[in-house]
Each structure stands twice: as structure tokens, then as C-alpha cells.
Symmetry: C2
Subunit: 202 residues, 2 copies
DNA sequence: GCGCGGAGTTAGTGAGCGTTAACCTTGTTG
DNA sequence: CAACAAGGTTAACGCTCACTAACTCCGCGC
């Protein structure tokens, strides 16, 4: 019962491959206890295989982290670019779309959000450079959108504001539980983010 | 040339003790590369002694982290309480004072801010509970202030908003460099935070 | 000047952990 | 059905690293 790859076109959710299971559990564990705080045996156990069996799917522990971080960064940038391409008319609408997209991501993939700014330095140089470059491009997307909406804002200030709003939106892991439903959280974060950006226009 | 303890009353800055040097460097290193990513030899080297010499000052590596995290949490709460006690009249002024205090802290002690929400799980149970309790009390201070200013906001929403604004204010480590001067950053963060909180009042 | 305790040093130890080796099972294919 | 590749298994190795042991140095009180 291993490699059924959802042969028909009817099943909407593709059956997760072993690799994907591993990545998902690794992301959760890394986010919970840090890259160095999680052993390969633990990751293996989380997907039902034990320890070194992971090396049939990844060349090493580092490679899992690398694939996770590069993947997040690529998906974020790709999503951002799509929104830029889709709504070139209204600056306010574009920024709103970026905010909504980032919120979706932050609420859907909380462990990845945590990893994203926490474990970057554990990567090999090449991977780290790649992730940094993708992050930078994503930030630039936002900076451009912000300055389109608030033209008086100097670039360095806009960039700092973007980072700050990222910090705001990425705060969801800290709420853990006890927060209102997903819809309410989404709406709240949206309001807070727009409130913050709105303060740029004095 | 070891233990001169600023004998006169004239010197304004107390000579840092060995313990304090160690804590400061450990904070920096932990923030840079994570608790598990830093070896005791490295911490020792950062203060000019080597490796196990640290054990004359701390019972173990964990104890350094514990003292750091408990210390931050206590100072934050203490500062918050002082501001609450000092400005009971105007809700807006109180929230502004809390924001200013937190910004000062975030800009003065960036490594500690990073540690604060990154390495909490590496603590022994007793220490972790203590830190969590201090953090909770600090958050409650803010929640009360926010709901004083925006009485229509439900508590869970106010708490989520406070956490989100913490994320915003604590984003300074991510800016690294290339940000405007300290004064400008302070002003920007203040505006963003108040913009976000202002959005709570519809 | 003698002992003593604080503060270091180097060498060593033991555990944890990432990784490799060697072997096994099973479904698939010619 | 033989051969093979994919995906596991357990055992073991080697390195890192927190921590301990044993020893040294030195300032200070008596």
C-alpha cells in the first residue's frame, strides 16, 4: 500500500509521498524544538520509520531544512509576484492582496513561518544565499507596493515598516491557542496590518 | 587586575563582573546561532577564558540561559508595572508609555529580545514555568491598557493584538543594518504600533 | 609566611547524535 | 522465476560537546 499516486482525476488531495510526510513532520519538529534540538530518530519516528531510513529520501538532515526553507521562500515570492501581476491598477488593492496572501500563508503553515526566520543560519552557504536572495526579492515587492501607496515614505523607512509588519503577521505561532477562530484572526491581522501601514501616511 | 569593584562612589558605570560579561556574550552568541549551536568553549573564548572556566560562575550552560530569560522577563514586567503605576490617568498615555518602554528595550537589548521567544523551550521545567508566568503578567498589563483605551474590544482579540504588536516591535533584530538611525527607528516603530492599535477602534 | 579559597588551566570521560555499513523484504519486470 | 531496485531494518563508528577531575596560581587575612 505504498505508491498509489491518485491515479484517477477525481481525488482532489494528492496522496502525500513519503518525502512530503517527512518534510511536514520535520518542519513541525524543527519549529517546536529547533534544528539542533531534534534528532533524526525523532523525525523518522514521526513518519513511522526509524532513524536512518530517512537517508533513502534525503542526503542528510541539513538537506531537509534546506528544502524546507528554500521551498517557503520560493512559494512566498511566487505568490507575491502573482498578486503583483494580477492587480496592477490600485496600489491600495495590491497591498491588501499582499497582506491577505501573507496572512493565509502564516495561518496555513505556522511551523514554516517559525523556521523561516529562526533557523536560517544552519544552512550551507549556497542554500543560505539562495534563501536570502528570495527573501530580499519578496521584501522588495512589498516595499514597492508600500511606496506606491505612500510615496512620501523614504525607502529605508518603508523597508523597516515592511519587516515590522512581517513580524506582526508572523506572530501567529506565539498565540498558540486561545485565539478566536481562523476567520476572526485573519480579519484582526488584516486590520492591524493596515492600521500600521496607514500610519506611514502621517 | 581582576576584581576592582569601582571602590569610590565617583564612577557612574559599575565595572562589569565576570558573571555579567559572560551573560552578555552568551546572550549575543545564543541569539546569533541558537542555544544548541554555541559551545561552552566559544562562550569562554568570548570573555577571554577558556571552556570549563565558566563552571566557576555557573553550574551549567542551561543556567546561563535560564538566568538570561528570567532576567529579561523580570525587567520587562518590572518596567511595565512602573509605567502603569506612574500614569494611571490617561489610557492613551499609558499605552504610549508601554510602547515606548518596549521599544527602548527592543533597541537596547536586541539579542535578549531574540532569545526571549526563541529558546524558551530549552529551559528546565521550573524555569520555563517562571518565565511563562512573568510573560503572561506582562501581556496582561498590556491587554488591560488596550481594553481601557478600546473598551469594545473583546479580551481574546486584545490579547492577540498585543502579541501581534510585540511581533512588530521585536522585529528590530531582522532589520540588522541599513535601517535609519536609532531615533528614527524609534519614531517609526512608535507610529506603526499606534497605527495598529488604532485599528482596533474600527 | 602560611593556609586558604577564588579563579583558571588542561586532560579526560561519557553521552548523544549524524551518518554509514551490511543486511533484509517486497513488488515489479523481462 | 531470476534479477533488481526501492525502501526499510539494526549495529556500529566517529565526532562533538557538556561536564568533571586534578592541578596550578595568586591575593589576602592572621
Amino acid at each position: 500500500m505504498s505508491t498509489q499516486a491518485a491515479p484517477g482525476g477525481t481525488s482532489r488531495v494528492a496522496a502525500p509521498t513519503r518525502r512530503e510526510q517527512i518534510l511536514k513532520e520535520a518542519a513541525r519538529l524543527f519549529a517546536e524544538r529547533g534544528f539542533h534540538g531534534v534528532g533524526v530518530d525523532e523525525i523518522g519516528a514521526a513518519v513511522g520509520i526509524s532513524g536512518p531510513g530517512l537517508y533513502r529520501h534525503f542526503p542528510g538532515k541539513d538537506a531537509m531544512l534546506a528544502e524546507l526553507l528554500v521551498g517557503i521562500s520560493e512559494r512566498l515570492l511566487e505568490g507575491g509576484r502573482a498578486r503583483v501581476a494580477a492587480a496592477p491598477e490600485d496600489p491600495a488593492a495590491l497591498l491588501a492582496a499582499l497582506v491577505d496572501g501573507h496572512i493565509d500563508f502564516a495561518l496555513d503553515d505556522r511551523p514554516l513561518i517559525t523556521l523561516h526566520d529562526r533557523e536560517l543560519d544552519r544552512l550551507r552557504d549556497a542554500d543560505r544565499r539562495r534563501v536570502r536572495q528570495l527573501q530580499r526579492q519578496y521584501v522588495e515587492l512589498w516595499v514597492t507596493a508600500v511606496r506606491d501607496l505612500h510615496p512620501a515614505t523614504p525607502e529605508s523607512e518603508a523597508r523597516a515598516a515592511v519587516h515590522a509588519v512581517f513580524g506582526l503577521l508572523n506572530s501567529t505561532p506565539h498565540l498558540g491557542s486561545g485565539l478566536p477562530g481562523r476567520g476572526a484572526t485573519e480579519a484582526l491581522l488584516r486590520r492591524l496590518a493596515h492600521g500600521a501601514f496607514g500610519a506611514l501616511g502621517d
